[in-house]
Each structure stands twice: as C-alpha cells, then as structure tokens.
C-alpha cells in the first residue's frame, strides 16, 4: 500500500507545554481516516502543525511528508503550493471561516487562481461548476453573495467547494459538522462521502463524535492527551475496541436501541498539559490500571493486522470491562 501522507514522531508544544507528544500516522491515497478524541487531545493541532498553520510560538518537531516531500520546516512557497493545492483543510465554524467582506465567488476564484491558474470567465465558470457539485442551488447568482447571506450548512458547502478548487489529493475536515444541526450534518457527511468517491480523494475526518466517523471512514485513530492510543479499521474498532479509553468512549454514547442502561462514564477528566502523568496518560482514570502503567508510556501493540493499541493490557479483553461510573 502506497503512502500519501506520513506523520512520524510529530511533536508540538506551546510555550513549553506539550500539546502533541509523538504522532505516527500514515494515510494512503483515497483512504478515509477518522481522527477521534475529546477537547485538548491534539487532533486539530496535528494537521495544523503538518501544514505549518500554527502561530509562531509553537515548536514543532518530527516529520510530516507528502508523497515523500517534507513539510515541516519547508519554505513558504512549498507550503503555499501544498496548502489547498494538494492538502486542503476545512474548519469547524463555517460562518466565521469565510471572509465577511469578500463575495464567496471571489474567495473561490482566489483558490482557482492560486492552484489552477484560472482567471476571469474561466474561473467564474469553474466556480459555478463547483457550487453545483456541492449542491448549492442557484449557483450563478449565489457566487455574488456574501457569507452572511448563507446558512451554516450552505457556508460549509462553500468551504468544501473552495477546498476542492485546488483539486487536492487529501482533504482534512476539522469537526466540519459540529456547529451544524443534525439533519444538515447528515447532508454534509453525505456530500463528503460522495465527493471522496468521485475524486478518489483521501479524507481525514476529525471529530469528537465516534458516531460521525462510523459511516464515513475506513479506519479510525483514537487520540488522548497528545498521542494516538488506538488505531483500527472502523468495523473492528466498534466490534472489538482494545484500549480502555476507546471502550470508555463507546460506553459513553447513549444507545438508541436496547434497554436503557446507566452509561459507562469514564471518571475524572483529561489531565492538564502541565500535569501530565509520567507513564500512560490515561492511567489515572483507567479501571484496568496496574503498576507497570505508571512506569512509562506504553508503545503500540499489534493486536491484529492494522489494529494497534497503546496499552499494556490490550491482549486481555476481560480485564478491560468498564464499570458504569
């Protein structure tokens, strides 16, 4: 399997506080990866760091390669070519992610000019085509509208159109539906799925909601406190989660079928960056904790082909049953 994007040992810290503590991840061309975790786990920081979109005071170590080309520390003109042209990114709050004083057609045309050299009528025609593609009705007229004249769902479609303008090989969608209503969320996820199939584009879907990645992704990586704690194909992750945190996340989802049971809530909270435990970061909240867990950070154990978990006790499913809190 060839690799499109490879992250190796990616570490990020802000003013001495580590936010990302060593990420290893590979994305194959056309693959859909879900990146799941709660606030502060570093799932967004990972991709902002890879594209050098973090503010200046962030220190980045490690490697992020795109088709073999190193992105960390690359010169500005390389990064400007990659951003939008080979890796595109869309963000959480579409209403504030678009420039309020520029018409959306102009913002789209900017991307077309930068990455495909289109200007004037050609650009406008292509912008209209992209609007049609993402399902914005009355495309020709809407090109001249401003972002505030669209609803949240439509703004996100505009963002997706803008992201596609550069014909990227990979799209990173950072919580694209979190700020949207549930029915609109379904529309957007549907759109992402069909676009991905049509263009064979790789997709990284970042979310705090396991349910959201379930339908859309081939593989899921679960993050906790700046590290990846489990990685598996989607079906396997939901059928046989190995890491206690993953189990906890699944247990925390209220079931929609079956008897109403007390939710298996993970006790406690995520440790603060300055109070990170020496060993496994999840150990203080883990029901399966043993002495060895505090000794050092567990490395990834392979449980099955393509299924890894960073837990010393990953091979003992019985020990990891979470008690309802």
């Amino acid at each position: 399997m060839s690799t499109l994007v490879a992250l190796r040992g990616l570490k990020v810290s802000f003013a001495g506080q580590p936010a990302l503590r060593g990420i290893d991840l590979s994305i194959a061309p056309g693959e859909a990866l879900g990146l799941v975790g709660e606030s502060g786990c570093g799932k967004s920081v990972t991709w902002l760091a890879a594209l050098s979109l973090l503010p200046g005071k962030a220190t980045i170590e490690g490697s992020a390669t795109l088709g073999g080309e190193e992105l960390i520390g690359a010169p500005a003109r390389v990064l400007e070519r990659v951003r939008g042209g080979r890796i595109a990114m869309i963000f959480q709050d579409p209403a504030s992610s678009l420039n309020p004083v520029h018409r959306v057609g102009k913002q789209l045309a900017e991307a077309l000019r930068l990455h495909r050299g289109l200007t004037g009528d050609a650009a406008r025609a292509e912008a209209k085509r992209l609007f049609d593609l993402v399902g914005i009705p009355d495309a020709a007229r809407r090109l001249d509208a401003y972002p505030h004249e669209f609803s949240g769902g439509q703004n996100q479609r505009v963002m997706i159109a803008m992201a596609l303008a550069g014909q990227p090989e990979m799209l990173v969608a950072d919580e694209p539906t979190t700020a949207l209503d549930v029915t609109i969320q379904a529309q957007i996820l549907d759109l992402l799925r069909s676009l991905r199939r049509e263009f064979n584009m790789a997709l990284v879907l970042i979310s705090h909601d396991l349910g959201v990645v379930a339908d859309t992704c081939d593989r899921v990586a679960v993050m906790y406190a700046g590290r990846i704690v489990e990685e598996a194909p989607v079906a396997r992750l939901f059928a046989a989660p190995a890491h206690p945190y993953t189990r906890g996340l699944l247990g925390a989802l209220p079931p929609i079928t079956g008897p109403r049971r007390r939710l298996a809530a993970i006790p406690g909270g995520v440790p603060e960056p300055w109070a990170m435990p020496k060993g496994c970061a999840f150990a203080p909240r883990c029901a399966a904790r043993i002495a060895a867990c505090d000794a050092g950070v567990p490395s990834a154990t392979e449980l099955a082909p393509f299924h890894v978990a960073a837990c010393l006790r990953a091979h003992e499913p019985a020990a990891l049953e979470m008690e309802p809190a």
Partner: protein, 330 residues
C-alpha cells in the same frame, strides 16, 4: 395518568417577536413558538427535541414564566403563572429552576461554588444558618463534588464540575421542576455521559420533574420518559422515546432519527434537502411541507393539528393520520 399528578400544564403557547430585515428593511413578525401545549408530570422527564429555530428554548422560558406568552397559558401546580418579576413569581422560583448550556456563564466568577449553591437558600430564607450549611454539603455530595470544592471558584473547575455545581444550585430549594436547556452540549463526550447519569440519579433522589431540551435525540432518549419533537415553533410528534425513535410517524422525526450518527446503524438514511427554515419566512400550511417527501396538496393549504393516533402517539401530519385511517379501514 391521574389528573392531579400533572405538575405543569402549558396550553396553546404563542410567542412572537418583531424583527427588522437589515437597517432599511420592513418589520417582520417571527413566531418563535406557535401553539405549543405540553404537560409535565411530577418526577418525570419530558424531552424536547429539535434543531435551530424550532423554538424549544423559547418554550422552556415560557414554561418557567421568564417570558409572558402572547397567547395561551401556563399553570403550575394547578395555579396560573404570575407575571415575571412580580413577588408571587419570585417566590415561585423556589419551586422551579433552569440549567443552561454554558455552565461558566451561569456561575458568578467572583463567588465560590459553596456561596453560590447557598444563595438560593438565603434568598428564599429556608432554614437557619447551620441547616443551610448542612444542605449545601448534602447537595455537593449529591452531585458528585467533593466538600473541599465548595471553596473553589468557577474558573478553577472543569466544565463537567461546573455543570454539577449549577445543578447543585438549582436543586438547593427542592424545586419540583428543572428546565435543562442543552445542559450537556458544551461538554466532552465522556463528561456528557457523567452528567446524563447524574440527571437520572437526581431525579430518583429528589423526585424532581424535568424538561430536557436538546438537539441530541440520543441524549433525550437516555434521560426522558416522554419526548416531543418540535419544528418551527410547533410540536410535530410526541410519544414514548423508544417508540418515536424506532417507528417515527412524522416525516421530520423520521429524517431526524435517520440522521443520528451512530456506529452500526441499520437502514437507509433519509437525507433532508434544503436548510432549516427561517422562522421569519414561514411556509403556508404545514411548515415542513417544502422539505417533505410525502407532502400532498393538502399539506400546502392546511396546517395539521397535533392529534392522537389510536396507539397513543401524537402526530401533526395529514399523511400520517391518513395512513392510520387507511390501515384501520383495511
């Protein structure tokens, strides 16, 4: 259901706002709530579910008497709701409380948690000083906070802990009704689970009735005894949570249920076309008909009433009732 068990009766609530389109635009009337009736029983939870603009938060405020409805009435414990700000209304605050989405905004930055949980007792003059202190300790324990956390300030606690503090404060005067407006949306998934468990525990321990307002059907199913689905200011379906979730009768509920992101979901997904409607631009007839796959001519002309089906489900849909009539006749 015994009639005297009903804690709160809201009938035909209507709430209108005037909005102006732009700086130079004409005034437009927005009906945030357009004829909502609901009943809350003692010690039970009614879940109110819907998307942006459906009017669920406004309904919550009307139920508490924080706003006066433009039409319709609210009766709490058999008596009509006094106007907001009046002395009887303020006394009634001890019987009903609200829990909001943002716990940090709901807490005073400059008071300790203990002081804030105690404040309702001071305001309503319940018990003497030692009794109040003991009550505060009991409440903190009931919500899962440690005694030493009473001396902390809100910014020193995590999001989940703050929401627990808000709950403790809301329960201080032993209210009969708790209106929770999106109480878990701002929290992380694992903390959401903790707070949902807590809400169920609190209801068991204190016997408090709850109006649980949320856009998340999963959460609503977890904590509610009954669920009402709202769309553009009206209730379009009401029934038992499991029944509504597994066999939704109204086309909007069907789309809502089908849109829930859940691992291992069965069945085809119904993807609604179009955007949530603008309350200022209300469609004629049934508000949902422009986006409804099952709409017929009658839907454009006539707005359906919320009526009971033979199995007890309340639905506001011409097509849903016609189908029932057909299947009954067959």
């Amino acid at each position: 259901m015994r009639p005297d068990a009903s804690l709160l009766d809201a009938t035909g609530l209507v709430r209108r706002y005037e909005m102006r389109r732009g700086i130079f635009g004409a005034a437009v009337e927005v009906r945030a709530v357009d004829g909502v009736s609901l009943t809350l029983e003692r010690g039970r939870t009614l879940g109110l579910v819907g998307e942006s603009g459906c009017g669920k938060s406004t309904t919550g405020r009307l139920v508490l008497g924080l706003e006066t409805p433009d039409a319709g009435s609210v009766a709490f414990e058999g008596k009509p709701m006094p106007p907001p700000g009046s002395a009887p209304w303020r006394a009634l605050r001890a019987r009903m409380q609200m829990v909001f989405q943002d716990p940090l905004g709901a807490l005073d930055r400059r008071l300790t948690i203990g002081a804030q949980v105690r404040e309702p007792l001071d305001i309503h003059e319940q018990g003497d000083a030692p009794a109040r202190a003991a009550k505060v300790a009991r409440l903190l324990a009931a919500v899962g906070l440690r005694p030493d956390q009473a001396a902390r300030y809100p910014h020193e606690l995590s999001g989940g802990q703050r929401q627990r503090a808000v709950l403790a404060r809301a329960l201080a005067t032993d209210p009969a009704l708790l209106v929770c407006d999106e109480p878990i949306s701002a929290l992380d998934v694992s903390i959401q689970a903790q707070v949902m468990n807590l809400l169920v525990d609190i209801q068991a321990e204190f016997g408090v009735a709850m109006l649980f307002i949320s856009h998340d059907l999963r959460a609503v199913r977890q904590v509610s005894h009954r669920v009402a689905v709202m769309y553009l200011g009206r209730i379009v379906e009401e029934g038992e949570p499991d029944a509504v979730l597994h066999a939704p009768a109204h086309p909007y509920s069907q789309a809502l249920v089908s849109a829930i992101p859940h691992p291992g979901k069965q069945g085809t997904r119904i993807v609604l076309q179009g955007d949530p409607p603008n309350p200022a631009d209300r469609p004629t007839g049934c508000a949902f008909h422009p986006r409804c796959a099952a709409a017929v001519a009658r839907c454009r002309a006539e707005s359906p009433d919320l009526k009971a089906r033979p199995d007890g489900r309340l639905v506001a849909c011409h097509v849903a009732h016609a189908e029932t009539a057909l299947s009954r006749a067959a």
